[in-house]
Amino acid sequence: MEREFDKAIKEMYKEKFLAPENEVRQVSAPDGSIIEIDPLKDYFCQERPKEHKPRKGVVEDFLNWARAESLWVLGFGTGCGSIEIPPLVTPRFDMYRYGVQMRPTPRQSNVFIISGYLSVKTLKRAIRSYEQMPSPKYIIALGSCTINGGMYWDSYNTINRLDHYMPVDVYIAGCMPRPEALLAGFGKLKELIKSGQGEKANEYARNFDWYKANQKKIIRDWNMPDYNW
């Protein structure tokens, strides 16, 4: 039975949520004329992602080898799993050996470790960061939460399956997996890339509409362009 107050709340959110910064606004230009600004259209690139055909033959193999040996990881810890990443740089695990290193900005990274559960709010940021990474790019899903929701399977605010929102290359199960498991995951990813299967970015571009539909289903205050360049 719905009560008065709950109705009111629903009423409040009936309109699609749009932060005031994103509403169309009018400003007066220095020459006195009034111009209209639609922030989402004017300030963001509206292009869709494109599929990129791999090169042929040995060249692509060589490039894939280079990509596999140079995995630059985005330093973005989404959930509790992120505590398992820092040990990788310690002498005990020393991921530098494998050409893996942390980068602070998505622009310079290729690998995105979704380290644990993703709340809806974080998902939005994760999608944005993922889309800002230059292709080819890979996702390592760390922990059970990314597979089926893990211990948060019935939470009102945590996604259950990451692969409905982003293309995942490697899953690492466990709650939490140890750093060794993560290293193994890197190994697996390298294998995939070297074998030419690390084309999930293209898959994302191919199934772009499906991913977007899934994302928009739960992210109700969609206040960014469809693809974040």
Binding site: H52, F62, A66, R107, P134, P136
Partner: protein, 280 residues
């Protein structure tokens, strides 16, 4: 230009920690140059890295590398030490402009820090160069190198220790390792000026940083450590100079920008002034 490949190898060896494969920077570069998607923020986004690389390449081009070799004195006949000093700014400006075009706030913060620090880094360097010019009565690098020939005791390191110390301290800042790496501050303002750079752009920047570091090390080698008369000497000396900076960097924590600015104006400057005073 041909020797840059060798140089990069050394840089990779020194800059990586123990576990890194010696070929890793090469792979990174290959990967960067082979990325499929790229974005561009505009014209200056292209020009910035080019300016930057030009700064490094230019320093290289105008500096005599190997003493006594016509081929490896590059284009040093067209300009002297002053030219080299000012060519650094070329890259500086390029980086600043290119990063600015990205419109990223962190870039601007990084650049403002970098430039702030740079102003004071150059003070001891300038004093040292003036001191050298007084000492050798020339601004030509080739002549300075020539004057240092004939045994280790002829090196500026020993004939003019104050200038050397001032310049070496300034070098710490120029290389931007800790404690003077607030410019890049990888965690607070992700990577500083080149936040927005990726792919080939970043590749160009990394290429440049390799060249620039070698060029600067070579400059110091020429000025203070007797120059090099063959390849082996060149490699060893630049390696050691670079290692000095890395060594200091591993020992000290990071300075805040005003601290580093003031620091450079304190001890290195005083040493630089002493270096001049003894020649007055």
């Amino acid at each position: 230009m041909l020797m840059s490949s060798t140089m990069r190898r050394i840089i990779a060896r020194v800059s990586g920690r123990i576990g890194i494969p010696w070929y890793q920077p090469w792979i990174d570069l290959t990967k960067l140059y082979s990325l499929r998607t790229q974005i561009s923020h505009g014209t200056m986004f292209y020009l910035g890295p080019v300016f930057r690389l030009m700064g490094g390449v230019g320093m290289f081009l105008f500096m005599p590398m190997i003493f006594g070799s016509d081929l490896w004195s590059n284009y040093s006949f067209s300009g002297d030490l002053v030219l080299i000093l000012y060519f650094q700014f070329f890259g500086m400006l390029g980086m600043a402009l290119g990063a600015g075009e990205g419109g990223h706030p962190y870039s601007a913060i990084g650049i403002s820090r970098g430039l702030s620090q740079f102003t004071t880094i150059e003070v001891p360097m300038t004093l040292a160069v003036i001191s050298l010019a007084i000492q050798y009565d020339t601004l030509s690098i080739a002549k300075i190198v020539e004057a240092q020939q004939g045994g280790i005791m002829h090196w500026t390191l020993f004939t003019n220790p104050f200038a050397t110390v001032a310049a070496m301290l300034s070098l710490l800042g120029a290389f931007g390792h800790s404690p003077f790496n607030l410019v890049k501050a990888p965690n607070e303002i992700p990577i500083g000026p080149p936040t927005e750079y990726h792919g080939t752009f970043l590749g160009v920047l990394r290429t440049n940083s390799a060249i620039l570091h070698v060029a600067e090390a070579a400059l110091f080698m020429n000025l203070f450590f007797g120059g090099a008369s063959n390849w082996f000497e060149l490699i060893i000396k630049t390696f050691l100079i670079y290692f000095w900076s890395v060594f200091v960097g591993t020992v000290f924590p990071r300075f805040r920008i005003e601290q580093s600015v003031v620091w450079f104006l304190k001890w290195p400057t005083i040493i630089g002034i002493i270096a001049i005073i003894i020649y007055l």
